[in-house]
């Protein structure tokens, strides 16, 4: 069964300072949606709103047509899961314990931990290649390992719609690709709807089925990367001049920023103020 998550005319903000106003967005089921935008464009705020961490000031977020705030919290948690940008964990927690806590929404008065949970947690660990870390403490792991453990926890929650806030931040390029590949694998094999905020436009274009480009709390482009990512949207959303080429690996649009120094016409440096190459302190 596919679930439909929608933001309907939502305004979101903190302490009555609006970040997003009157925004509509429908998350395409079974696809990978990537939200991009400059800093403070409202990407994370939108994700928080979709995951009901932030209550809309106006409008509503609906799951299958019903207001998500009115649905039972645990029931929603079996369908929609969010991995925050910087999740926190208690000191000394082991990897197995942490990942197991993702099963919480599936338990209740009459449904305690069972072998099904074991199997799902084990599958999440296998998918993220964390099974060998099971007995280790989270704080003893490297950044890449830790992020895989957090994703394993989100997979153990087993939501049909998985939201991730910058899952690749603080990771080197190898681990970024590793994390994105494993999310894409989840999407292609299980049909899990993935919605994530990414900073790297080229990785976003490569991994996204749908790209949502945000600027100043509004959506400026929404569609496939080929439809949305062009020099105009990059200029509008990021205030950046760029050339768009085709990614030699997969043919997705690739954004090549121009900058001040590397355009075909180099910028003229004023003679009055020659560039300061180095300075010698004489004191």
């Amino acid at each position: 069964m596919t679930h439909l998550l929608r933001a309907e005319n939502v305004s979101l903000g903190y302490d009555h300072t609006p970040i997003i106003e009157n925004l509509d967005l429908e998350i395409v089921p079974g696809k990978v949606t990537v939200i991009v935008g400059a800093n403070a464009s409202g990407k994370s705020t939108l994700l928080k709103g979709l995951a009901r961490l932030l209550k809309p000031d106006t409008g509503q977020v609906t799951l299958d047509g019903r207001n998500i705030a009115a649905l039972p919290a645990k029931k929603v948690a079996t369908i929609v899961g969010l991995l925050p940008q910087q999740p926190i964990a208690p000191d000394g927690i082991t990897v197995a314990d942490l990942i197991s806590r993702g099963r919480y929404p599936h338990h209740g008065w009459f449904r305690q931990w069972s072998s099904t949970d074991d199997a799902i947690v084990a599958a999440a660990m296998a998918a993220t290649n964390t099974h060998e870390l099971a007995a280790r403490r989270l704080e003893d792991l490297s950044g890449g390992q830790r992020q895989r453990v957090w994703i394993a926890m989100a997979l153990a929650q087993d939501p049909e719609i998985l939201l991730l806030d910058e899952p690749t931040t603080f990771l080197d390029v190898t681990h970024q690709i590793e994390v994105l590949d494993l999310l894409l694998e989840r999407n292609r094999e299980r049909g899990t709807t993935v919605v994530m905020v990414l900073h790297d436009l080229n990785l976003a274009a490569r991994y996204a089925d749908h790209l949502v480009v945000m600027c100043a709390g509004r959506i400026v482009a929404n569609g496939t990367p080929a439809e949305t990512l062009n020099a105009d949207t990059v200029r509008t959303a990021f205030d950046l001049d760029a050339t768009i080429v085709s990614d030699p690996v997969c043919g997705a649009p690739m954004v090549v920023p121009i900058g001040r120094f590397h355009g075909r016409v180099p910028p003229v440096l004023t003679e009055a103020e020659p560039p300061l190459l180095f300075s010698v302190s004489t004191s």
Binding site: T78, L83, P87, P90, H107, A122, M125, R137, Q157
Partner: protein, 351 residues
């Protein structure tokens, strides 16, 4: 892609890891229980009139002489029982506060909750001339009022741990000021009685105090058991907790109410035994070392601290000096507080 056999070993290693973790907690609980039984036996047997182990067992099974019965069953047993119960109540209260607010400083004795109980109790004793029952009720009321005040002052569309703690520390100072004022205005004899209560002591334990703490514990333990699942999720932060279907703010409020009730009833029974709530859970978690909640080990550590402190205060000090147990718990807790302030919180990270 993983094969089926790999998956099987994963499940096996997973349940293995979990079994190891629960065995570790089981061993710790057994060891703590053993230590507690030992301290309990010592507390019952040793004193101005000491009993041998067979005599003690005989007395406990109801076949003691009249004087043995009086000393063990009427004097020492209530004292021991009360020490164990308040130790458990303080420890769980502290563990809940520290976990919910994600800050090792957030224990009811540091943030002024037990201080509120003290101020109300002393106000009752000195100004209103309350008896012991009314004093206990006043203490409960004082703790609740202070806790509500801190919660409301810390509220900004939600409660964050560090703000709660900072406001709590401020409130604790205000309450101390009030206490000082009350004591300085009081008649010398009354003030001495109030001071004794303020240090915290299990001497003169009556079955009414025991019943108060026991009833509160019995009523709240099932609630804590139900809430502990949510607390484990809340440990992962508000965002993840919400995402996993736990209403963070509501759960936090419920757990704080439970923690305040435990601290209030224990303080009402024995006064503010300093630092028991503060040190029990961190010690238990250090011993356990798995990142679990460790509520049961913490409760046992709390009981051990209070019983050992009371035993020390009664028998182990030089010169036949008998002190209230609160002096001893304070002497244990204060260095820990200094150590905590000196070493941790360079990152602002909590328990």
């Amino acid at each position: 892609m993983t094969t089926r056999s790999e998956m099987k070993t994963d499940v096996a290693s997973l349940s293995h890891a979990r079994a190891r973790q629960s065995r570790r907690e089981g061993r710790l609980v057994l060891a703590l229980l053993g230590a507690l039984v030992l301290v309990a036996a010592l507390s019952l047997a040793v004193g101005a009139y000491s009993l041998s182990v067979p005599d003690l067992l005989r007395t406990l099974t109801g076949q003691g002489t009249q004087s043995e019965n009086f000393i063990v069953l009427s004097l020492r047993l209530p004292r021991l029982t009360l020490a164990v119960l308040v130790g458990v109540a303080f420890a769980i209260s502290g563990a809940l506060f520290q976990t919910v607010l994600r800050n090792p400083l957030a224990s009811p004795d540091i943030i002024g909750v037990t201080g509120g109980a003290s101020a109300a109790a002393v106000f009752g004793m000195l100004i209103l001339g309350f008896g012991s029952v009314a004093t206990s009720l006043a203490a409960c009321a004082g703790a609740s009022i202070v806790a509500c005040a801190i919660y409301l002052l810390a509220w900004r569309g939600g409660v964050v741990g560090y703000r709660f703690v900072l406001i709590g520390v401020g409130v604790a100072f205000m309450v101390q000021g009030l206490l000082g004022y009350l004591l300085s205005r009081a008649d010398l004899n009354d003030a001495q009685g109030a001071l004794l209560w303020l240090v915290g002591s299990v001497s003169g334990a009556g079955w009414r105090d025991i019943a108060l703490v026991a009833v509160v514990l019995l009523a709240l333990l099932p609630v804590i058991r139900v809430l502990s699942g949510r607390l484990r999720v809340l440990q992962l932060g508000d965002d993840l907790a919400t995402s996993l279907g736990v209403g963070a703010e509501r759960t936090r409020l419920a757990l704080l109410v439970v923690a305040v009730a435990l601290a209030a009833s224990a303080t009402a029974a024995v006064g503010p035994l300093a630092f028991v709530a503060f040190v029990a859970a961190p010690i238990a978690r250090r011993l356990l070392g798995t990142g679990g909640l460790a509520l049961i080990p913490a409760a046992l550590i709390g009981a051990l601290i209070t019983t050992v402190a009371d035993f020390t205060a009664q028998h182990l000090l030089p010169g036949q000096l008998e002190l209230p147990a609160g002096i001893i718990t304070g002497a244990i807790g204060a260095p820990y507080l200094l150590w905590l302030l000196a070493t941790s919180n360079t990152t602002g990270k909590g328990a």
